[in-house]
Structure formats: structure tokens, C-alpha cells
Symmetry: C2
Subunit: 284 residues, 2 copies
């Protein structure tokens, strides 16, 4: 497995693979890899002949006061996980390699970047869309793999790729969970043992929402209220949002219909956690 | 020569060329081709093995009240010029092919889009950057060719390509002029015979600026005032701007130094004309 720190190096790696007729898969990450990322690498190696994993904590997607500086960077462990799951190359650039001068060029995705996390993380999706554009232009993959865990990111990136005719396919892979339902996240390691136990309430609240829809409840306010009650069973949780939104447009729903994204963001102490499930509301 | 109207068709053409090991050149245009465009196609055929010319009047780079609807679309003449100059394919999509749904994803280039034409054409460079991104992602060229005539566009596109790591080279070709110095432009055909004669004053004013710098004048206000006096010799001309700016940052200069972009925008009746020259201020 190659570890490339420069754009020229990773481009040379991919060019060799492509020359050999290989299909190139790409898993963009911020490192601190866990079983969720590993499942993306597995999906990529299953579908592609040459798999690149990028490890880059992208400064432009963090807001002021967010956790850019303390975001975990266990690089040697990340390399081991990539190797173990059959990645062919890691692209691990420095911030100076990715942003060698003041960045003036930005990719924005209107409307889809505004609700849910967009209300709480100003500029976040602009940073995500811009760095993904850069990474796609550097790696030139045939397929890129993202996790459903970051549901709004998945919707934003899919739309960006479609609107801007980017020549690659986007595959969204299911969220990987701990036994108690907590979605795998690099930020889970910020949690104290008590917070970690409390964090399971996030998935319990999502499951409550799914049950209600399955039982025929169509009033989104009722579902939100029940989910809120579930979250409030744990005193340490403060709710940022509970979204019952159209899975494609991310517009808040009054009545549940079609494919629905049920999404939650909370704070547990200083740690921000997000999670979501997709639910197909049965007709009628 | 192929004429492709769909994204799938032009991608198939380029894929065949690339499979045959050909270097792909690209000349994006809005059609109404003239000798300036022809020189871009000539530059492309000289440097590349397979040359695509796009002909697309891009709605997103026109403001309200601008000339989108009456912009000339002499498609058969355009095809003949492309053929004559050795282009291998024309990509001439419909607006619905390029924008099949509400476009939510935009590429913006901060700072460089704001001065000069940016002050008078709100959203113009966002539309240009976005459509060029789309076209680059569709055609996937090795090299794309633009004219120096649209100096600010050239600076914006170069910076966008650098910032976003787009995998192509940008070549800027010299402005082609009529015998009286008027820069070739598709919009010149809007001019009445009298306006056409008057229009030569634009290049005379630029030449005046260059002479002054060559003669050692370093005070940009003095140069602007002399250029303004030259333009005002023609009563039908109304001045939009006279820019004496850094050729890279487009920042207005007080003292002329280094590589300077001398740029003018005027209106002659309803017709907006722009032109510019690059001048290297001799040291001292």
C-alpha cells in the first residue's frame, strides 16, 4: 500500500492504476477510522480494482469554536486499518498541500446546505463541497463512497455531482452501529463513560420515530414530540434539532410521506452527535 | 467532424479519442464564432490531437436585462468555421441538457469576481465559473483555451482551476483585432455603421495608456484621466470603467508596477464593449 503525501504522488499512483485498466474507488475521510470507514473501504474494494483512502482533516469545513484542533489524528492506526481492509493507497496531504494559497474558489450547494446541520454549522457544507471537489479532481475516481451517517452531506454531494456533471458515481453505504445502536463516529471517543452510555438514547429516539411511522402516524409534529420525549429521558442530552424531512429535498414535512429522513443532532456535554435513519412511509 | 448535442454523445467521442491515446483540447464558446475564436481553435489543433469546441449560450452568466435572448446564434456558420479550422467535435447542448433541473450548485471565485466587470454584471462570473466547471467535467480535456479579450474571465478561470485542482491546463491566447484595433467580439455585430467606426476609440484609449506607461508615467490616476479624455473624444461612448489593475490580483493600482492590466468597458448605444491590454511596466 502506497502512502502519498503530495498531489503529484497520488496522481501518479492513480494514473498507473488507470493505465493498467483498473477501476478506481475512493473513500474520502478525516481519519480516526472506525468500523464505519472500514465498511466503506470494504464496499470500495468489492466494486473497484484500485482503492484510494484520503485522510485529511479539512480546516475549511470547521467553524470557529469547533473541534478542528482537537479532532483525533491517529495516523498509524489509520494506515493499519486501510492496509487490513485492502486499500491500495492512502492520500494524506498537509493543509499546505491542499490549500497552498488563500482559497478563493468555493463550491456551494444552495437550499440543501441550509436546514438541519446547516443551521448550526455555518459554512460547513461549503467546506465539504469544496474539499470533495478538490479531492475528486485530484484522485479522479470512478466511484466515491460516503456513509449514510452523514445524511445531509450525502445529499449535498450527490446533488453537487449531478449539477456539476462530475464524472464519477457516488455510493452511499449504511451506517455502522455499536451493539447499543450508537452510530460509529470518530467523535464518540470524546465521550466520557457516562456520556457514552447516555448516547444510546439518540438511536432509541430514531427507532421511536420509525416505529411511529410504521404504526401509521403521519403527523410529523407528533413524531417529533415523541422523539423529543425519548431524548429528554436522558438529562445530559441537549437537543440541537429533530428533523422529519423529505429524504431528497431535506424540506421539513408536516405530513410524513414517501421516503423520509429522520435525523437528530444533540450535544452530550461538549460533544456534538448526529444520527439518522431513512424510513419509507407505507402508503395510506 | 462530430456534432454532439448530448452529454453522453460528447463523452463517448472524447472517450474514443482518449482510448486512442490522443491529447484532448477544448475551446468553450457561446458560438457566433469570429476570428478570435478561430485563433483559439488553431491554438488547440496545434497543441492537441483531438479538439472539442462547445457552442452554448449559457443562461446563468447573463443578468436580467442583458442580451441573452438576442445573443446571435448562427449555428451553421459556426459549424463551418469549426470544420475549416480542424476541430474534431462540436458540443452544442440545449439549455435543458445542461440544466435539467433547478441548479443548486455554484462555483464562485471570491475577490477576483468583484472588480471591473463584476461591479456591473452581478452573478456573471459565478455563471461563467459554474458552466466552465460543468463543461470541464463533461469534456475532461487536457488543455482548455480562452481569449485574453475576456481578461477577468481568464484570471477567474485560472484561479478556479488552481484552487480546485482541476486536472487540466488553461492556455490564454492573444486578442485578435480588426485593422482599426477593435477587438473581435460577437457583440460587434450589434453596432450600427457609425457606432462601429466610433468603437475604434476603445483600443486607441488602451494604446494611450500603454504609451504613457512606456514613457515612464507611474501615476495610475494620470493614466486613467488621459485614457478617459481619449474615450470622451467620441460623444456616443459612455464609460463603464477604466481599470489600471494588477494583472494577477485585479486590484486597482495607485502606482503602476510589474505586470499591469489596462482594461476598459464602455457602452456604445445599447452595446457593451470590453477590451484590455497587458503592459509590463519597466522598472524604475
Amino acid at each position: 500500500m502506497q502512502v502519498a503525501e503530495t498531489i503529484a504522488e497520488i496522481r501518479a499512483c492513480v494514473a498507473r492504476a488507470r493505465k493498467a485498466g483498473k477501476k478506481v474507488g475512493f473513500v474520502p475521510t478525516m481519519g480516526a477510522l472506525h468500523a464505519g470507514h472500514a465498511s466503506l473501504i470494504d464496499a470500495a474494494t468489492a466494486r473497484c480494482d484500485y482503492v484510494v483512502v484520503s485522510v485529511f482533516v479539512n480546516p475549511t469545513q470547521f467553524g470557529r469554536g469547533e473541534d478542528f484542533n482537537r479532532y483525533p489524528r491517529p495516523f498509524e492506526k489509520d494506515v493499519a486499518i486501510c492496509e487490513e481492509h485492502g486499500a491500495d493507497a492512502i492520500f494524506a496531504p498537509s493543509a499546505a498541500e491542499m490549500y497552498p494559497r488563500e482559497n478563493l474558489s468555493w463550491v456551494t450547494v444552495e437550499k440543501l446546505s441550509e436546514p438541519l446541520c446547516g443551521r448550526f454549522r455555518s459554512g460547513h457544507f461549503r467546506g465539504v463541497a469544496t474539499v470533495c471537489t478538490k479531492l475528486f479532481n485530484i484522485v479522479c475516481p470512478d466511484v466515491a463512497f460516503f456513509g449514510q451517517k452523514d445524511a445531509q452531506q450525502a445529499v449535498v454531494i450527490r446533488r453537487m455531482v449531478a449539477d456539476l456533471n462530475m464524472p464519477l458515481e457516488i455510493v452511499i453505504c449504511p451506517t455502522v452501529r455499536e451493539p447499543d445502536g450508537l452510530a460509529m463516529s470518530s467523535r464518540n471517543q470524546y465521550l466520557s463513560p457516562g456520556e457514552r452510555k447516555d448516547a444510546a438514547v439518540v438511536y432509541r429516539s430514531l427507532s421511536r420515530g420509525r416505529e411511529l411511522i410504521g404504526a401509521g402516524e403521519r403527523n410529523a409534529d407528533v413524531i417529533r414530540a415523541r422523539m423529543q420525549a425519548t431524548l429528554q429521558e436522558v438529562a445530559s442530552v441537549s437537543i440541537e434539532y429533530i428533523g422529519i424531512v423529505d429524504a431528497e429535498t431535506l424540506e421539513e414535512l408536516d405530513r410524513v410521506r414517501g421516503r423520509v429522513l429522520v435525523a437528530v443532532a444533540v450535544r452530550l456535554g461538549p460533544t456534538r452527535l448526529i444520527d439518522n435513519i431513512l424510513v419509507d412511509a407505507p402508503p395510506g
